[in-house]
Amino acid sequence: MAKLYQNMFEASVPQALTLGEQLAQKGVSRRSILKFSSYVAAIMALPPSAASAMAESLAKTRRQSVIWLSFQECTGCTESITRSFSPTLEDLIFDFISLDYSETLMDVSGLAAEAARKQAMEENKGKYILVVEGSIPLKDGGVYSTSAGETNLEVLKDSAKDALAIIAVGSCATFGGIPAALPNPTGAVGVDKIIKDKPIINVSGCPPIPEVMTGTISYILSMGKLPDLDALGRPLAFYGETIHDRCYRRPFYEKGLFAKSFDDEAARKGHCLYEVGCKGPTTYNACATLKWNGGLTFPIQSGHGCLGCSEPDFWDKGSFYQPLSTHKGDLEKMVVGGAAIGATAGVTSAVVMRSRRAKAIKTAQKQAEIKVQKDSAAEDQSAQGGQHD
């Protein structure tokens, strides 16, 4: 860590050398850059030819200034990124980026820390990447989360105005996350609800896969442009398919073989976890392919269904343990209410029918009586007429 901190302080000094020159001075070979580029190209599903182009581009670039802001969050995203296996956070910080401000990782605090942010913003005006972790509270003027006497909203607006691009890491920074869960007491929102005039990349997840974070940053550094994004602003390379699409338990879903509980025979045989609430079919992320802990495993492989943490409002989508094909909310009231109203309507319409029928019978009887009377009167009349004749 000492090296990391030292590097961070060095990073705040303007660099004149290109990254290739700098790395050569440190004894890092071109081959290492190519290896790094190949890995990034592979995880982002780029063609093999992209790796050498990325390496070439990386060598010519200068170290990228990065300002990392932490707002309403649990630091889980930082925890996650520090566990990236390849490219590691150290790879990024030592070789490719200059992490000029990070409240979690820097050792200075107070005014000195804020001065470092201002200095980095000034020296890299229009060129730095802003990484945001955590949601931004808007309610009551944003007083629910402040640092150095400024609200998160003020810090974000101030830091974003001269940024080259913004990377929102974690579901809190992208969609509001758990702080925005109903009833959302702080009025928490994601970055793209506030900043509209800068390119924003959403790297969602609670936390995001470390390699997705480092891979996205690496892509911007090496390609000098934003990756292709989906409708929610997430890199398509990582969020293009559902977890269900790439899940190794998918064949069991196709066969209709489901675990009924987390510890039954079917679960032990690796059957699909759809019935115990897996949200894999509606969750777009790379968990089933990149996996976690250096590609060792991911939640479904460990026996738990996907929670859908990389999707908006995942906390408010009903129980984590309720299948996707079931209803949400209270149906009992609707069923009981519907039956009560239906029964009342049925009885009422039957009563109306009966009374109409009774009325009709009465009218018919009356008409029949009148007819009989008329007929007998006519008969009498004709009998009397006959007598007169």
Binding site: T242, H244, D245, Y253, E254, K255, G256, F258, Y274, E275, P281, T282, P312, D313, K317, G318, Q322, P323, L324, S325, T326, H327, K328, G329, D330, L331, M334, V335, G337, G338, A339, I341, G342, A343, A345, G346, V347, S349, A350, V351, M353, R354, R357
Partner: protein, 220 residues
């Protein structure tokens, strides 16, 4: 913010099931409490017991009429195919059983999903064939009403959307699943007010007709 799938699984299902229960209860109670028709003629002597007449008519209608067997064979076979197909699809697919279990607490073993898909495809083809037959037969076309066509539509739509959702065809799964649930909602809302109500009334009406025939001494 509520997305389409949340809307379909939540408010849309709640309202449509509410309307379904309301409509079915209303129609059944109304029918049960309807004043009985005044039949002035006396029952025929030596006729079969009324109850047996009703049961006989229910089963008789399940088989083709001998006189018209040739002419009605397509409708007869096709009718059985899509009715049985619908039954297998609704009660055989794991995801459907999960829905029913969550709603009522009742569950049973599911069929292999691929088998249900196959049955769903056959059911869909059978429903299309039924529509083509209705449109090409002059007599059927003459007696068909908007109710017949709309009932066909709300019955077929869940099969189409369900196949698309389970096969992940044409759009994102959450959109397909939402479309499938919303098509079920439409089916449930229309159910009590159109010809779908025959699901509840078919045996009652056939039985009643059989009893009436028996009372009049009609030999079927």
């Amino acid at each position: 913010m509520i997305d389409l799938l949340d809307f379909a699984r939540g408010p849309a299902l709640q309202v449509s099931i509410g309307i379904f229960v309301l409509g079915v209860t209303w129609r059944l109670i109304r029918l049960a409490l309807m004043p009985k028709a005044v039949i002035p003629s006396a029952p025929r002597e030596h006729s079969v017991p009324l109850f047996m007449g009703g049961i006989h008519e229910i089963f008789r209608k399940m088989l083709p009429n001998k006189t018209f067997a040739k002419r009605t064979m397509f409708s007869f076979i096709n009718g059985w195919v899509f009715h049985l197909g619908l039954l297998i699809v609704v009660l055989g697919l794991g995801a459907h059983i999960m829905f029913i279990k969550h709603l009522t607490g009742l569950s049973w073993p599911n069929l292999p999903s691929n088998l249900v898909f196959l049955v769903a495809v056959i059911t869909l083809m059978s429903l299309v064939a039924a529509l083509v037959h209705r449109l090409t037969s002059p007599v059927l076309r003459l007696i068909s009403t908007a109710d017949d066509y709309f009932t066909w539509f709300v019955t077929t739509l869940p099969i189409v959307t369900g196949l698309a959702a389970t096969m992940h065809l044409g759009a994102r799964y959450e959109l397909l699943l939402a479309a499938h649930i919303l098509s079920i909602c439409l089916f449930l809302i229309w159910f009590p007010f159109g010809k779908l109500m025959h699901s509840f009334l078919v045996f009652a009406t056939r039985g009643k007709t059989g009893m009436e025939m028996a009372r009049r001494g009609v030999k079927l």
